[in-house]
């Protein structure tokens, strides 16, 4: 409850169009020439001193991308993107390679401090919360710092920028990169494969329970620059890891492109819990600026009894196109998707999940909470599929939509297909509005209109918030209230 009250403090302290993380860091950066062609792909690969197999892999992706068309099936509307008018690589000039924290440009450290992400381990240790989180901080196209690496290495956990893993653990990268999201998977995934810049690499050895939360913090700073990060997480047999990503970007009048790919692999008896708090700049209330967030996230429950759980709190971005999915390949494997997607102003969200049941007795659970306010549009799009051999497959889906005001829209688009007669799929969906009765009741008890809305919304999303790691649940609660400010007329 303290969190709700704190939330309300936050709501009060900011203006309607205020996005807290909208500042720009003034730092000299090294950019690739504008536009996209094979030379740019080679330029990026050369910048990272990549082996030739990876350069070829990128070029192959680029050539395939040229033959593809941008998808148009999502319920989002935006002007055509000119892919030749973007920068595909930007790095702070001071960063020529991985360095120790002491060598990191103080301006960068200050940026992360301002964002509330302490990169100095001793500061984290001194923190009041007691919970320790290892952080990989990605600034535009490069990782600037990764904390707690030595301590993690003691238990055999590898947590480093993917650009570094290419050199330090080439076999693992080669084996798993593109094994869940193939180069040709979709338009944005192919683009990402060609020009991906940086991101995190995680490997948890057999039987190891990762001793702390891992997280990556993405920050877009440069103008007209796309961010194309790539995350690869492998949980070997019987291991466990909980991972969280957060994202912010400066306020800019033009739209910026973010096309990420995340691949998760869970072997026998392994479990990966992946949480996202997405707070990219959403644009202003008139729909100017904001991030185009076109993301492909997929987990492969490759082994028997493996489990992958996606939890997302989506409050940012002008456009969200994102479907974190699970391939339930191993027998008895389990996939989960818990989502809170909030849209306000002119934001457009088309998000959901895919649960592909391939193995026997595989189970999945989808809980989606969409909240639309302002003049936004919020679509849940989900697919549940059972293969002919997936006997005993079970899915439970619950999609709830909450509308605030009269100018927004909510849509639910479920695709359900079963090719096995023993599969059992359940789907529940509701759409509701915050009623005048509820608001008046709360206000009669002393809550302001905004406090009342925040309380009702927090109640609506409670099942999902409970899935987030404790420290982030509080953060998410605050974010929800801030995202909804100005939504009460």
């Amino acid at each position: 409850m303290a969190a709700v009250l704190e939330t309300l403090e936050t709501v009060k302290s900011v203006d309607v169009d205020a996005y807290k993380y909208g500042f720009v860091t003034d730092i000299e950066s090294d950019r690739a020439p504008k536009g996209l062609n094979e030379d740019i792909v080679r330029f990026i690969s050369a910048k990272k001193n990549e082996p030739s197999w990876l350069t070829e892999w990128r070029l192959d992706a680029y050539r395939r991308w040229l033959t593809m068309e941008e998808p148009t099936w999502a319920r989002v509307d935006y002007p055509k993107i000119d892919y030749q008018d973007l920068y595909y690589y930007a790095a702070p000039k001071s960063m020529s390679g991985p360095k120790s924290l002491d060598e990191v440009d103080p301006e960068l450290l200050r940026t992360y401090e301002k964002l509330g992400i302490p990169l100095r381990e001793r500061e984290v240790l001194a923190g009041v919360q007691g919970a320790r989180v290892a952080v990989d901080a990605v600034f535009d196209s490069v990782s600037v710092a990764t904390t707690f690496r030595e301590e993690l290495a003691k238990s055999g956990v590898i947590f480093c920028p993917i650009s570094e893993a290419v050199h330090s653990h080439p076999d693992l990268v080669k084996k798993y990169l593109g094994s869940v999201v193939p180069v040709t998977d979709n338009y944005f995934a192919s683009l990402n494969s060609a020009v991906f810049s940086d991101g995190s690499f995680v490997y948890i050895p057999p039987g190891v329970r990762c001793p702390m939360e891992l997280s990556t913090y993405f920050r877009i700073n440069e103008q007209n620059t796309g961010q194309f990060e790539r995350t690869l997480i492998i949980a070997d047999k019987g291991s466990y890891v909980s991972y969280l990503e957060g994202c912010t970007a400066p306020k800019r009048d033009e739209n910026q492109l973010h096309a990420a790919v995340v691949e998760l692999i869970a072997h026998d008896d392994a479990e990966i819990k992946y949480s996202t708090v997405q707070n990219w700049y959403p644009g202003d209330s008139e729909g100017r600026g904001g991030i185009y967030n076109f993301v492909t996230k997929r987990g492969d429950c490759r082994g028997a009894n493996s489990k992958i759980s996606w939890t997302q709190v989506e409050t940012g971005s002008a456009i969200t196109w994102k479907y974190p999915s699970c391939i339930l390949r191993g027998d008895n494997s389990r996939g989960e998707f818990y989502s809170i997607a909030i849209s306000n102003g002119r934001q457009q969200v088309d998000s959901g999940t895919k649960m592909l049941h391939l193995g026997k007795n595989t189970t999945s659970r989808i809980i989606s909470k969409g909240i639309s306010a302002g003049r936004s549009s919020n679509t849940y799009r989900g697919q549940v599929f059972a293969h002919r051999k997936a006997s005993g497959a079970r899915n439970f889906t619950n999609c709830d939509s909450l509308l605030i005001g009269n100018a927004c829209g909510a849509h639910t688009v479920p695709y359900v297909e079963s090719r096995n007669p023993s599969a059992q799929f359940e789907h529940e969906a509701t759409t509701s509005k915050i009623s005048e009765d509820q608001l008046f009741y709360c206000m009669q008890r002393g809550l302001s209109a905004e406090e009342a809305t925040a309380l009702i919304v927090n109640g609506f999303v409670r099942d999902v918030l409970q899935q987030l790691p404790m420290e982030f649940a509080v953060e998410a609660q605050k974010l929800i209230a801030v995202s909804l400010e100005g939504s009460v007329g």
Binding site: L5, F440, M443, Q444, R445, E451, G459
Partner: protein, 249 residues
């Protein structure tokens, strides 16, 4: 305490209150009775500040201050409480959370410090016990799946915790069996004091057997058409509203 002067109000162009005047001094309980559709519940909504009604004339003074310009939550923070005829469900928000949020919200509006968790729990438990409200019930989402009696007891619990200067009970007796009616009435009676006033809206004399009013007022077509002492309620019970309404028309 509460003074309503010549109050006119409408909704969607339809006149609901027609020059209603009523005064309830501190320490007193006034009962409003009247036939269906006379505007009794509307009166409670308008005094509490529900926005769908438009006040076209008149004043509502709480402790001498005109509260008609204030949003509902500021009226609440000044000590106005409305026990709803139909308490509203809020899924996902536990009763416990709601109570604490409401208490602290009012304190904040008044510029007071928030309650410490331990103090809140102590106060809440004591008050809940008196109304036979279990701790289990307080952990459930607000009013969701509560029986009629549970909802009304919870309204009285909220009134107890929020310690209002003035309480309006809108048909608190509706949907209650005799046992629940007794518990609820005892809860209200225990809050009666020299500083606090109440307005009790009811259809039936039955409630007034438990909550003894100082004055009784009959409402019809948006105004008070007759006022009297406790005996007036008994008279109404015997003869119905028809004669009084007819003689006022």
């Amino acid at each position: 305490m509460l003074e309503i002067k010549n109050l006119h109000a409408e909704i969607d162009g339809k006149q609901i209150l027609n020059g209603l005047t009523l005064s309830v001094p501190a320490g007193e309980v006034a009962a409003i009775m009247g036939p269906n559709g006379s505007g009794k519940s509307t009166l409670s909504y308008i005094v509490a500040g529900r926005s769908d009604y438009t006040v076209t004339a008149g004043e509502v003074l709480l402790n001498g201050e005109n509260i008609l310009e204030l949003p509902p939550h500021e009226r609440a923070a000044r000590g106005l409480f409305l026990a709803f005829q139909y308490p509203v469900e809020i899924p996902g928000v536990t009763t416990h959370t709601f109570l604490r949020t409401a208490m602290n919200a009012q304190r904040k509006t008044r510029g007071e410090e928030e309650l410490k968790t331990a103090d809140f729990i102590k106060i809440m438990r004591a008050a809940a016990d008196k109304l036979s409200i279990s701790q289990e019930m307080l952990r459930r989402p607000l009013n969701v799946g509560f029986s009629g009696g549970e909802k009304k007891r919870l309204e009285v619990l909220q009134m107890t915790l929020l310690e209002p200067r003035f309480g309006i009970l809108d048909e608190t007796d509706s949907g209650l069996d005799i046992d629940a009616l007794r518990v609820v009435s005892e809860g209200v009676n225990s809050l009666r004091s020299k500083e606090r006033g109440f307005l009790v809206i009811t259809h039936y004399q039955r409630l007034l057997d438990y909550i003894k009013p100082d004055s009784v007022h009959v409402m019809s077509q948006g105004r008070i058409i007759k006022s009297g002492g406790p005996d007036l309620a008994l008279e109404l019970e015997k003869h119905g509203y028809r004669d009084i309404v007819a003689s006022a028309a």
